[in-house]
């Protein structure tokens, strides 16, 4: 078998957080993927449950960035326009030092390098129960009401595998974190979409302007509705659902006896004037809600891949059964370190220095800076109330992309053009919606602003230069 040539992305890309460091030429990659091994019989076919679930926006982006960086490599552009990556949601800021120190400490203890309790390391589930008891104002049993998973992603997967099956419908609010749809499908169920709709006209929009239509939402519920997936604070728009909005959803869940899978990974990242409310704390909702959290987003350690599901025993026990039949247990040293970090912050939960609040303050500054930069170049950002993403309406720039032949929505083409010509990356918003709403969202792209100052400085330079070209 001929081995295609391997090309390495220059070191400079690594520090900007681009994921892939070892890359092939895209053409060889594609031919490798599509090469038909004619001798293979149909018995080697994939299981039906994963049919059509193979591609996603992230592989598209990786391929694109690869292509662009390879061109840079080939043409040896003197000015070295490294791609400033505001696309994928990963911090390039450092996690707090005590978090890193706790991990180093844990790794040095012999027994912490061996298996721990499958459903969650005791020290971790205990402190999680303390933190969330305080927030929810109810007793949470660390052993029966909590499951530790491989990231918030793992919690989503466990919840869906445990509670969703063929014949079920699951309501997904658009735009949505892109994994919800394939996960619902992999569980054999049918996703039912409802879009957030932009209510206002005018300039500087806020994520609060994107709302659900109550009648439309009610129409999506029926006897087959097993669950609704809620994401607050919301990725990609940054919306922080109000109590009234949550009550609307809760009333429908109770009326139709549906579950709520509440993805609250950005729960600490809410900006001035907003409050994160847990739908599980509304009357009648604890019994039917699985609430998901994430260490990656809480402590800026996405590479730890630890998350948790919290809910009533009669739901969590099924997620635990999934866990014991999928990966059994999560990493021990990481869980121990996370437990210690949580203990530190639990003790100062009434103190503004608590990392949960200090990170939010830091990010609010970055949010405001990002918004200003985008406005200066004529783009229309939607100011998020929470999370670390910002969506931007790019239609005012009226970039002519008619020469791009790919059959893709406008935002994909725009991002492709922006990466190639401006060396700035973002994520196309239509990656986060179903087929029917693509037209509604294709003029938006998503930027991530949990980036260190030097990255934002580099973005600023690109945007300022860009605005001069437009003027």
């Amino acid at each position: 078998m001929e081995a295609p040539g391997m090309l390495f992305v220059p070191q400079r890309f690594l520090c900007l957080g681009i994921r892939t460091q070892l890359l092939k030429t895209v053409s060889s990659l594609r031919s490798f993927r599509f090469s038909a091994l004619a001798t293979m019989a149909s018995k080697h076919k994939n299981a039906k449950r994963i049919e059509g679930l193979d591609s996603n926006v992230w592989t598209w982006l990786v391929d694109l960035v690869t292509l662009v960086s390879l061109r840079v490599e080939f043409t040896k552009v003197a000015a070295d326009p490294s791609i400033v990556n505001l696309g994928q949601g990963l911090p390039d800021i450092s996690p707090p030092s005590y978090v890193k120190e706790e991990l180093a400490k844990a790794a040095a203890v012999d027994r912490l390098n061996q298996y721990t309790r499958g459903f969650g390391h005791p020290a971790l589930v205990k402190v999680l129960s303390q933190v969330y008891e305080k927030i929810c104002g109810r007793k949470i049993d660390p052993y029966t009401d909590i499951l530790v998973t491989v990231g918030g992603y793992g919690s989503l997967f466990s919840a869906m595998q445990a509670l969703i099956e063929e014949g079920d419908e699951v309501i997904i609010i658009e735009p949505f974190y892109d994994c919800y749809e394939p996960m619902v499908k992999m569980a054999g169920a049918k996703p039912v979409f409802i879009p957030l709709r932009y209510k206002k006209a005018g300039n500087s929009a806020s994520s609060a302007d994107w709302v659900l239509d109550p009648t439309e939402l009610a129409s999506k519920f029926n006897s087959k509705t097993k669950a609704i997936i809620l994401n607050t604070p919301h990725n990609p728009i940054g919306k922080v659902y109000t109590k009234e909005e949550l009550q609307l959803i809760a009333d429908l869940c109770i009326k139709h006896d549906s579950l709520c899978i509440s993805d609250e990974v950005y729960e600490w990242l809410v900006y001035t004037g907003n409050k994160h409310i847990k739908i599980a704390t509304l009357p009648g909702m604890w019994e039917r809600t699985v609430t998901i959290g994430s260490a990656g987003k809480t402590y800026s350690v996405t590479g730890w891949k630890l998350g948790w599901s919290i809910g009533p025993q009669h739901l969590i026990k099924h997620l635990q059964v999934v866990q014991q039949n999928t990966l059994y247990t999560c990493s021990t040293p990481l869980q121990e370190a996370l437990a210690q970090a949580f203990l530190i912050d639990f003790k100062r939960m009434d103190d503004p220095d608590c990392y949960f609040y200090s990170l939010s303050r830091e990010l609010e500054g970055k949010r405001n800076r990002m918004a200003q930069l985008l406005q200066e170049v004529g783009l229309k950002p939607v100011i998020p109330e929470g999370g670390y993403f910002m969506i931007v309406d790019v239609s005012a720039l009226d970039v002519d992309l008619s020469d791009m032949v790919e059959d893709r929505p406008y935002d994909y083409k725009f991002v492709t053009w922006m990466i190639k010509s401006k060396k700035l990356s973002a994520i196309p918003l239509t990656a986060f919606c179903g087929l029917e709403t693509k037209e509604q969202f294709e003029k938006y792209i998503r930027f991530c602003f949990i980036k260190q100052d030097s990255t934002l400085d580099a973005a600023e330079m690109i945007l300022k230069k860009w605005s001069k070209q437009i003027a």
Binding site: T20, H44, D92, N113, Y115, Y153, E165, W304, V321
Partner: protein
């Protein structure tokens, strides 16, 4: 609440019962219908959850669950500490979904050499959350409702529920113990597949066979001839092979671990699974991997990206460093892959002696860090209860934990329902333990013997 027409009576009753359970147990505003997916039916029991909890409840010398009670080697521990506290803060952030580049590169190089196969780091290797997730991905990716999967008994217990969760049908075939030569102790090598029986298990519906060599719990290291038997049938019936080789380095008495993917016709139909936990004595890191042809691995990638997506970064970096070091020392006396099995062979031999001395009959494992002992002579202490649902070995171990402070795992847990009764007088000990633990176990066994034989 019945949501599908045409439920069988059994399903109807099950659902009614479940609804009733829910309505009785909780207050108002709860689910009034069975909430869990049907695919979970029967998958809730788990031997580890039960016995790990038990061993933790009582003061025990724990030779039960399979994990070392000593440290991973310094070079990997240091690599991990370096990865998490070094200058590169990006090691705390997401890495490549299908495997950290440094890790997949070295795995491709290392195993490519061993298999004599060109392994591409990007398309032929995928990193998983332990070998456990690798197994999960295999079944979810490639097993559908109506598919049969052959499982050799005794088997690592998760294979069966994983096949079922994927909607497949497990088809079992037992290893059958042959009487050892006179004067010799029984070895795991004396447990063999009957070729005709094995051939009879392959049908049109057979999608895959799961091979585990070295085998947990028996310790069997399949010989080349045995592997060829399996390979021939796979090729003949166009069946896939999921090869769980997590104990690949732990082979004793000069035996050789054979990788079935290296046999003719097998690379294109085999997914090989490995584990950093077993390789580097770091079970808590939960880093595993698969390698195989792209046309199969691409489906595992689809499952993985819809299930956990990324694996933790820092531990992958550390495992990459570990493999790099071993690659440079391969086959040399200072290689950890040479030293660990040497050390474990001695521990094995020592435990064998302790068990013989007390009247248990150990089956000498050719590989892994597990050892099965036959309890037949112990039936007097824990009486047989023919009508009892719980297998004898399980009851015996519970008694042993509470009364002797020694934990092991019942071997019937590694057998299908049909076979449990035939293999319920065997218990599994784990000997990847430090000196003090094995000495403590020895003392318990000695005391036990004295009690039995009297002053």
């Amino acid at each position: 609440m019945l949501r599908r027409a045409g439920l069988s009576l059994g399903q109807f009753l099950w659902r009614r019962k479940s609804s009733a359970e829910f309505s009785c147990s909780f207050g108002k505003a709860k689910m009034s219908r069975p909430v869990q997916a049907q695919k979970l039916e029967g998958l809730d029991k788990n031997v580890w959850v039960e016995f790990v909890k038990l061993a933790a409840t009582y003061p025990t010398v724990n030779l039960g669950q399979g994990f070392p009670d000593f440290s991973p080697p310094d070079f990997v521990k240091e690599a991990f500490v370096k990865a998490v506290s070094g200058e590169n803060a990006m090691l705390h952030q997401y890495t490549r979904v299908f495997g950290h580049p440094a890790l997949v590169t070295i795995l491709a190089r290392f195993f490519g050499k061993l298999l004599g196969q060109d392994i591409d780091s990007l398309t032929n290797v995928m990193v998983t959350v332990g070998a456990y997730e690798a197994l999960f991905c295999c079944f979810q990716a490639l097993v559908d409702s109506g598919d049969e999967v052959i499982i050799i008994e005794p088997y690592f217990d998760c294979y069966e529920p994983m096949v079922k969760m994927a909607g497949g049908t497990p088809v079992f075939i037992p290893l059958r113990p042959k009487t050892p030569a006179p004067g010799k102790l029984m070895s795991s090598g004396d447990w063999q597949l009957d070729p005709a029986e094995l051939a009879s298990k392959f049908t049109r519906r057979t999608k895959a066979i799961v091979l585990n060599s070295p085998n947990n719990p028996l310790g069997k290291v399949f010989s080349k001839k045995e592997m060829e038997l399996i390979a021939d049938l796979c090729v003949k019936h166009d069946v896939l092979c999921f090869s769980d080789e997590v104990y690949e380095w732990l082979v004793y008495d000069g035996k050789k671990h054979i990788r079935i993917a290296s046999l003719p016709g097998m690379w294109d139909r085999t997914i090989t699974i490995g584990s950093a936990g077993k390789t580097f004595s770091a079970t808590g890191w939960k880093v595993g991997w698969t390698f195989g042809p792209d046309h199969l691995l691409k489906h595992l990638r689809t499952v993985h990206q819809n299930c956990v997506y990324h694996c933790p970064t820092a531990a992958q970096e550390a495992v990459a460093q570990g493999f790099q070091r071993e690659f440079e020392r391969y086959g040399k006396p200072e290689s950890y892959f040479v030293q660990l099995p040497q050390e474990l062979q001695q521990k094995r031999d020592r435990l064998v002696q302790s068990l013989l001395a007390v009247g248990m009959k150990p089956i000498i494992p050719e590989g892994t860090y597990f050892l099965i002992a036959d309890l037949s002579d112990f039936k007097a202490e824990v009486p047989d209860l023919p009508d009892c649902e719980e297998p004898y070995d399980s009851r015996f171990i519970k008694w042993m934990i509470k009364n002797k402070g020694l934990a092991a795992i019942p071997v019937s847990a590694f057998y299908s329902t049909a076979q449990k009764r035939n293999f319920d007088h065997l218990i599994r000990f784990c000997f990847v333990k430090e000196e003090a633990t094995l000495k403590a176990a020895e003392d318990i066994l000695q005391q036990w013997k004295l009690k039995k034989t009297g002053p």
